[in-house]
Symmetry: C2
Subunit: 395 residues, 2 copies
């Protein structure tokens, strides 16, 4: 069971100059899409950020190398599901390279303008034969209408495809993500792809992407695990006039929506939880507190039990390494203040309890009362279902 | 269900010069012991370390004040269960003080030589009437044979009392702890008390206690939550010749045993897990890696599923903020190497699986291959039972 926030769209538009698609190449069962492609009509500007894990998937090595060599220019991004190509040594990197070489040849572009991303169980060799044998079909399948096919192709344990778009007169952004929130069985990975017709390039583009991630994907705390393959890419076509702050705002908005769907699609989740931290000394301190609250098993099991447990929330906030006077803090659950002025308010708990029972998207808030810093962090509740899923997954 | 490592002893000896005991004062149901006392025949040297949480129980304020005022001299430690006296404001501190004043008067010692510790649900006023009305009975109940009564009186969600002793010709240490591992419902607290007839005093005593905790209680990671009331106290009677390195070694040994029982008594736990980290640059880096592995829900659910999932172990180690080349790392589960030389060893997984199935105390190991630093960290597995317990606790 996971939280379905909105009906899955049949269609998501792509920014001008981009095509997308997916095919079945034999990695997933039952003919499901498992090989996806993002294709730019011509080489566009690209930036990427990767996992900070010491164990790193082969595609991360390759993407770093290619982006450096191509000076941030990219024609295509190839993505396979059901195999992480991780802990596969030098052979894994050679396998990924072989896929990029073949695709670049078909596109008539330099190899380094092709990136790759892999997601799925780690430790197994990449089935290159299946991928290489289906590149022709994949190139035939990409189109301006192919966004949802791509979104489906990159799913692993996700229960629904994750695509979000924001298209305005000035410019367009379409984003994709995969990642199944709560806990990642066998290292299922967070992958994110942002396409825009807006303009950004070079070091400023890398900085922009990091700021966007800091306010979106880096605020989705699932189980605190960063997988070896986590990757977020931004491709900018520069055919519209959107740039600077406007572009950053749109990218952030799209990324936050994607980040929320990742939390909502957590295994066994029954509630999407937004942790609102207010009154911190800075945004980064607020985010730090929010991440600890949102990662606390105590807080997450309380939500699963529909218990407005202010003590668990305040205590989690208190161990984030951020100084604040607990007697001035305020804690709320949905519309109800459950702790303030140094004491609990049991008279408000029934209202808080109703919020947890009635609403699929719930809010837990803490005001630290030491400044103006604010941040929202997203997570989901922790249910017995999720333990069952993850204990049984590979036994 | 929790892991019972050894039969609960009927009796634990106390070091010379100490008495202990417990009575029922009406906080727990069914006449169970809920008020405990540690009593030194004369004022002894004492040191304490407390939670780093920003939310702090009343007893922590009071203990800090008393130890400073008494220059580290203590006659008695009063402990109540089933009420944390936390988030109770100024009144909570006044309530705790009142208990200490009354007990000091009965003992004929300065108030500041009496310490107090409280554990249980937070946010409710301390029932001082019940405590004050039973101090007489408590003083009558303490004896040299009262260690197990004290251990039982400080239990909250613990399923068995936790007392460990190491008595040798040169000197004696008896330790007590409470804390129910996995996750602390309503902030049930880690409390630890160490009594010795050995000698240590002043700033050196405080440093000693911190080193002991760093190698024991600070290496029991449960859910990563520090409660507002966490407290560890050391009382040293100086009647034996034990001191220095010998005393530190014995205190560390007793504390590690207590720390293991806390992990083993985790809610829903079916396995005590020792995470062995080897080959780190330093002991502290090894401990940091061990704590991340031992806190990972991915790793803990894998143990619950009896799955020797090397990928989850290596990936958790990889996100601890410690640099190491994953291709040279080694991962083992019990007697079986499951990853080394940059690749998994599926042929060894059946042996690893048998270890997880057959043994109640299991070992997960990682060698980082960058130095000689080593540390063990203790935790337990994460089962669906534990989520159920914590979701349902207060709803």
């Amino acid at each position: 069971m996971t939280v379905q926030l909105a009906p899955v769209p049949d269609h998501a538009p792509l920014p001008t100059g981009f095509r997308a698609g997916g095919v079945h190449c034999g990695l997933k069962k039952g003919g499901q899409l498992d090989l996806g492609l993002l294709l730019a009509d011509r080489a566009v500007d690209a930036a990427a950020i990767y996992t900070t894990n010491q164990l790193v998937g082969a595609h991360v090595h390759l993407c770093r190398e290619h982006l450096q060599k191509s000076r941030g220019k990219v024609r295509a991004v190839l993505v396979n599901a059901r195999n992480a190509n991780c802990a596969t040594g030098e052979q894994g990197i050679a396998d990924a390279r072989q896929c990029c070489v073949a695709l670049a040849k078909m596109l008539g572009c330099p190899t380094e303008q092709v990136l790759m991303a892999s997601t799925g169980p780690i430790g197994a060799p990449l089935p290159t034969g299946r991928i290489l044998g289906n590149l022709d079909a994949l190139l035939g399948a990409v189109s301006q209408d192919g966004a949802m096919a791509f979104a489906r192709a990159i799913m692993t344990t996700d229960t629904y495809p994750k695509a979000v778009h924001h298209h305005a007169a000035a410019g367009a952004v379409t984003g994709f993500a995969k990642g199944s929130g709560m806990i990642h069985p066998n290292m299922a990975t967070m992958l994110g792809f942002l396409l825009t017709d807006g303009s950004t390039t070079g070091p400023a583009m890398a900085d922009l992407l990091r700021r966007v991630a800091d306010r979106s994907f880096h605020r989705t705390t699932v189980d605190g695990d960063t997988s070896p393959n986590d990757t977020l890419m931004l491709l900018a076509g520069s055919t519209s006039s959107t740039s600077g702050a406007t572009l950053e705002q749109t990218l952030t908005r799209v990324s936050q929506s994607l980040a929320r769907t990742i939390a909502a699609d957590g295994e066994g989740a029954t509630r999407l939880v937004t942790v609102q931290v207010r009154g911190a000394r800075s945004e980064s301190e607020a985010a730090a507190v929010g991440r600890v609250v949102a990662t606390s098993p105590l807080v997450k099991t309380a939500v699963a039990g529909r218990d407005p447990n202010w003590g668990r929330i305040l205590s989690a906030a208190g161990r984030a390494g951020v100084r604040f006077p607990a007697e001035h803090a305020r804690v709320w659950v949905g519309p109800a203040d459950v702790y303030s002025g140094g004491r609990p308010h049991p008279e408000n708990e029934p209202l808080a309890h109703r919020h947890l029972v009635d609403d699929v998207e719930v809010v837990l808030g803490v005001d630290l009362a030491v400044g103006d810093g604010a941040a929202d962090v997203w997570t989901c509740d922790l249910t017995a279902d999720y333990v069952q899923i993850n204990a049984d997954y590979r036994s």
